[in-house]
């Protein structure tokens, strides 16, 4: 039995506590003052208040988290997602302070965080990458040469960016000349580095990502793909497993390529391999996320594996709790991220206390949320109230089940994104699986939800 400190909050803190409980490990939550009354803090075996509401002085304060781990005699630290989960310096600090970091190695986090470098590493390991520059661009002339070679349209991308940030689309030579220096300056300002590289732009791709788990010694297991194309400004709204656009053939091919490539890289702990996929099912890797992701539940629902338990086991024992052959999938799963935002008012975040709350349940419905009646949705943190996840035997049934669940859901105190989800789930193209990342720009959801009114 170990003692695991969770350096995060809200639903992911609760998720990790649940996995720890099931494994028989003790839990400690390092939390801000504003979260002192939240469910994960009440459930943990021990708690340490590390700072005020502002994340810079609490959840992002590396020294405070290590101090909390020392005070509570923790053996390991789980960073959750967001916050310090992909901060290589933090992972290093954890390791140097003699705690086990429940996640990939600091060096992997650092490598995959430098997007141009990561691209080259993935290419060498045998992954299909988008045509692009060989590492960072050293000059505008080099940029022009690369663009000519691979053909417009292209993307200028910040090497230290990620998650859809620091990307500029360039359609021709003159735009490239105009934008080159500006993009460098923006990258410097946003990420602390003006290093940029080029990748071919696939217009309106589908966003496909594969879940992996490695032991750091060359053994890697993949858990199939998720499709996360329903996005707004690079924020995912709906995720599903498996992708309605992927054939078994492509899936199996990608699965074995991934296991081989990441085995070669000796990938350790969880990761998500992100692809863009065009209409001909050509998939190209664009980045690797070295953490557990928000949408991990849909993968758990179709494979039957608990990814948080698996990552904890792998971190503490050094071995994978399963091998490739053990992993199959069944049925279809879909998740919506319910946020306290007003879709009809440009998704303005709502703030306030939850007056009344009734989450759905019943067959095939899972809810991952820390929110209760009385929970204060604050301006300090993201506006996600919870994730509602459905599983059923096929995609059509899954959609109906999720619709049933959303119809039952009662959240009072402010507006939520539920009406938008209800509209999307009933919309023809979505039901046909006919969408890409530009879906929300192409359908008339604004009028759609205005007609229906909020629920």
């Amino acid at each position: 039995m170990s003692r695991i400190l969770i350096a995060n909050r809200a639903e992911i803190a609760l998720r990790v506590i649940r996995a720890c409980r099931e494994l028989g490990h003790e839990t400690v939550v390092a939390h801000s003052e504003a979260d002192a009354q939240t469910l994960p803090v009440r459930l943990a075996d021990d708690t340490v208040c590390i700072g005020p509401a502002e994340t810079d002085r609490s959840y992002l304060d590396q020294r405070a988290i290590i101090a909390a781990a020392e005070m509570s005699d923790a053996d390991a630290i789980h960073p959750g997602y967001g916050m310090l989960a992909e901060n290589a310096s933090f992972a290093e600090r954890v390791e140097q302070s003699d705690f086990t970091f429940i996640g990939p190695n600091a060096s992997t986090i650092r490598q995959m965080g430098q997007k141009a470098e990561a691209r080259a590493i993935l290419d060498d390991a045998g992954m299909p990458v988008l045509p692009g520059s060989d590492g960072d661009l050293t000059s505008l002339d080099e940029a022009k040469d690369v663009a000519d070679e691979i053909g417009f349209p292209i993307m200028l991308k910040a090497s230290e960016g990620g998650g859809g940030r620091g990307i500029s689309k360039v359609r021709d030579q003159s735009e490239l000349e105009e934008q080159f220096e500006r993009v460098q300056a923006e990258a410097e300002a946003a990420f602390g580095s003006g290093r940029i590289y080029i990748e071919k732009l696939i217009e309106n791709p589908r966003h496909i990502e594969f879940q992996i788990l490695g032991d750091g010694n060359g053994n890697v297991v993949q858990f199939f793909e998720r499709e996360c194309s329903i996005q707004r400004r690079n924020q995912k709204l709906i995720e599903e497993a498996t992708s309605p656009a992927m054939t078994d053939e492509t899936r199996n091919e990608l699965a074995s390529t991934i296991e081989e490539a990441f085995g070669k890289l000796e990938y350790s702990n969880v990761g998500t391999v992100e692809f863009v996929m065009d209409e001909d099912e050509n998939a190209y890797v664009i980045e690797v996320n070295t953490r557990i992701q928000v949408e991990h539940p849909v993968t758990e629902q179709i494979t039957g594996f608990d990814l948080i338990r698996a990552q904890i086991n792998t971190a503490l024992t050094g071995s994978l709790p399963m091998n490739s052959a053990d992993v199959g999938f069944s049925g279809h799963s879909m998740e919506v991220r319910v946020c306290a935002e007003e879709p009809s008012n440009n998704f303005a975040p709502a703030q306030g206390t939850v007056d009344h709350l009734n989450f759905p349940s019943g067959p095939g419905i899972r809810v991952d949320s820390y929110v209760e009646a009385g929970t204060w949705i604050s301006p300090y943190y993201d506006s996600m109230i919870g994730k509602i996840i459905a599983w059923d035997q096929d995609r059509e049934k899954c959609i109906k089940r999720l619709q049933r669940a959303l119809d039952e859901t009662e959240i009072q105190g402010f507006d939520t994104t539920i009406p938008l989800f209800q509209w999307i789930l009933a919309e023809e193209r979505f039901q046909d699986g006919d969408f890409t990342t530009s879906y929300l720009d192409e359908v008339d959801w604004q009028d759609g939800i205005a007609d229906n009114g909020s629920s």
Partner: protein
């Protein structure tokens, strides 16, 4: 205030005072029940920078209370009985290589210094008493 005549500056001053009180105690909302008139009045903050509702179980901040500004190992520079000036560093909190000063919130005599070596953010670690206070009126922290 004269009966029946609305005195604008009086209302403004008193309202400002109410807002100050709300800020001091980190209140989001105040409710008044007027039993005689059988009326209810509610005052509610509506600003984006608002602080959380007063947390249950969290005691009011007493004057002179010294709360830890961060988490970590507590190291005293002063001790019980010492006279301290307002803003004077009375202790340090160490978290790895960083040292954060703990300062006296007001001038007076330092008392009730905690013996805990590791402290959490917001924990009360001492009090600075002033001579004019009557000790028997002090509430438990």
């Amino acid at each position: 205030m004269e009966d029946g005549i609305f005195n604008e500056s009086d209302v403004r001053n008193k309202t400002r005072r109410v807002l100050q009180l709300m800020n001091e105690y980190s209140l989001m909302e105040i409710e008044f029940e007027d039993k005689e008139d059988d009326r209810m009045l509610k005052l509610r903050r509506d600003d984006q920078e608002a602080s959380p509702p007063l947390l249950e179980g969290r005691s009011e901040v007493m004057p002179g209370q010294v709360r830890a500004p961060t988490v970590g190992e507590l190291v005293w520079n002063k001790q019980n009985g010492d006279e301290v000036g307002r803003g004077e560093t009375i202790a340090e909190i160490i978290k790895q290589d960083e040292r954060v000063s703990v300062k006296a919130p007001r001038a007076g005599v330092l008392t009730d210094c905690t013996e805990d070596e590791m402290i959490e953010f917001g924990e009360t670690i001492a009090r600075v008493q002033q001579e004019t206070e009557d000790h028997s009126e002090e509430k438990d922290q």
